[in-house]
Symmetry: C2
Subunit: 311 residues, 2 copies
């Protein structure tokens, strides 16, 4: 069924801002899949249909508790030999998300938007294994890295999540300014690069945010029935990056990033309620806001002073 | 070095209330270990020294990222054939924690405190494997079950945490009242038993709380250096149950349970900073309160309304 990182991301982000998707599909790609995106206002003019090509295909199997996933089949199809060429309209975007694919392709897209104000990147263990140098180069060209926590550990060789994130933050500017969209722009102007925002995806446990200013963690929204975790990470990224894009006039403070995390978490929780993109396609803004409110409620406690502390 | 569930629990709980430890030690047990507990006000008159016996001993190995643990050696020692006999003073306790051990032993202790107002129980996969019926009986005799999330799944056969917790809640009273200390007492008076509070320990991801009234989750406190996770779960339980004991006059509301979770989480985070009980032995109440405050800060976000929700 319809899936793929860019699709999940675009549908989620479409609740917050105008999204333009870049990527190839094959001759087999059904027109009504494009319609699913168009009907949420997603621009698909940079979706390249490759004559005679076959659309990327993935098939996998989840473990009993959905915490482990085994890939059964991956067919790169039209992604082999793909040369992204962005339209002028897409090149004018202020915010860019580089979904998981070969780091070389991510860099090719990144180079076509040198002036983007906020760039985020997702990746996976495969590229750490077989293309680490290119991946590090790609990461050093962005403002925000979104990765599974185990992959952050693998990438840095640091067993501790906070240490791993700090290691990647150190790949950035030597004296990092307070992370802000403005700051990121300045870094690039001064030839300084590298992420100032690290998001660790933790599957059913939620997600954590590490910046030079602090740490934030949010549990996943508790669901009694999870149908299909496929695309949850990209849907999270769509909510997270989309929220930031919609608030581009605000300083990129930890406070803004935390709200973005909450919206990403809410979007991801809807995604897993049904197969593929079924749930997000019929989602409403009211449902998102209500779930963000619920997330706020299930994480709130009052740090009341201790009446009887002994010692 | 000094360890064991009861020791970690007692030291943590000693910050909140008077704690009396019940359990056997061997002739090899060093007097200065008892002193470590005494100096935190822990009552050790129910620690039974078995002539010629050998103290329980555990040795294990942690994986690279400390998320997996392999037991290398367990010597039950004096726990084999142990018959707990509580002093009159201990039998008068209002709050009871049954640390992880054979469920039959937990039941023997439980039966000696029939009027306890709040009883919590911890266990592990071993007892689910080899003594499930006894374990279920023990769980049905308590108000609160504290278990690793994977063990909650194993115990119930339900792959989803929320479903697993709800399953165990359903082992309790048929029409569960709002969970309160008073309520629990009433349940027993009416012959209704079973937990109304489920705590899922999630290791480095924190802990979640499920009651009939709601759900709460709290991440672990982020540490850049974790030295020794041994006893973190029992230290958590000590902070959690200790906090409840210190507020026994309050209704056992979700709000109180959430504050207890925060204190358990704070205590556990100190425990892993050094080996064994080193850190907790020199911990202060001020440090605990400061960390609870920090936990409140790293989980807070503002559910601001969305200015630009599209759809």
């Amino acid at each position: 069924m319809l899936g793929g990182a860019a699709v999940h991301f675009a549908l989620a982000a479409s609740f917050f801002d105008e999204v333009s998707v870049v990527g190839p599909v094959g001759e087999d790609f059904d027109e009504h899949h494009l319609e699913a995106m168009r009907s949420r206002g997603v621009l698909v003019h940079d979706v390249e249909r490759v004559a005679g090509g076959e659309t990327f295909f993935w098939r996998g199997e989840y473990g009993w508790d959905l915490n482990s996933r085994k890939t059964l089949e991956t067919r790169l199809g039209v992604f082999e030999g793909f040369q992204p060429k962005l339209s002028e309209r897409s090149r004018g975007s202020e915010v860019l998300f580089l979904a998981n694919i070969q780091p070389a392709l991510q860099l090719q897209v990144r180079e076509q938007l040198p002036d983007a104000r906020f760039v985020a990147l997702d990746s996976m263990n495969l590229w750490i294994d077989i293309a680490r140098d290119e991946l590090v180069e790609a990461i050093q060209s962005v403002d925000c890295l979104i990765l599974n926590d185990a992959e952050l550990r693998q990438l840095t060789g640091k067993p501790n999540l906070v240490s791993a994130a700090r290691e990647i933050l150190s790949w950035g500017p030597p004296t990092p300014p307070a992370p802000s969209v403005i700051g990121a722009e300045q870094n690039r102007a001064e030839g300084r690069r590298g992420p100032s925002v690290i998001v660790a995806k933790q599957g059913e446990y939620g997600a954590a945010l590490v910046t030079n200013d602090g740490f934030f963690a949010l549990p996943a929204y508790p669901l009694e029935t999870v149908i299909d975790p496929t695309g949850a990470g990209d849907t999270f990224a769509g909510g997270f990056v989309g929220y930031i894009a919609a608030h581009a006039e605000e300083e990129l403070s930890d406070e803004l990033l935390r709200r973005a995390m909450a919206h990403g978490t809410a979007l991801a929780s809807f995604n897993v309620e049904q197969f593929g993109t079924e749930r997000i396609e019929r989602l409403t803004g009211e449902e998102i806001s209500a779930r963000v409110q619920e997330l706020s409620e299930i994480t709130r406690f009052i740090g009341a002073p201790l009446a009887r502390l002994r010692g």
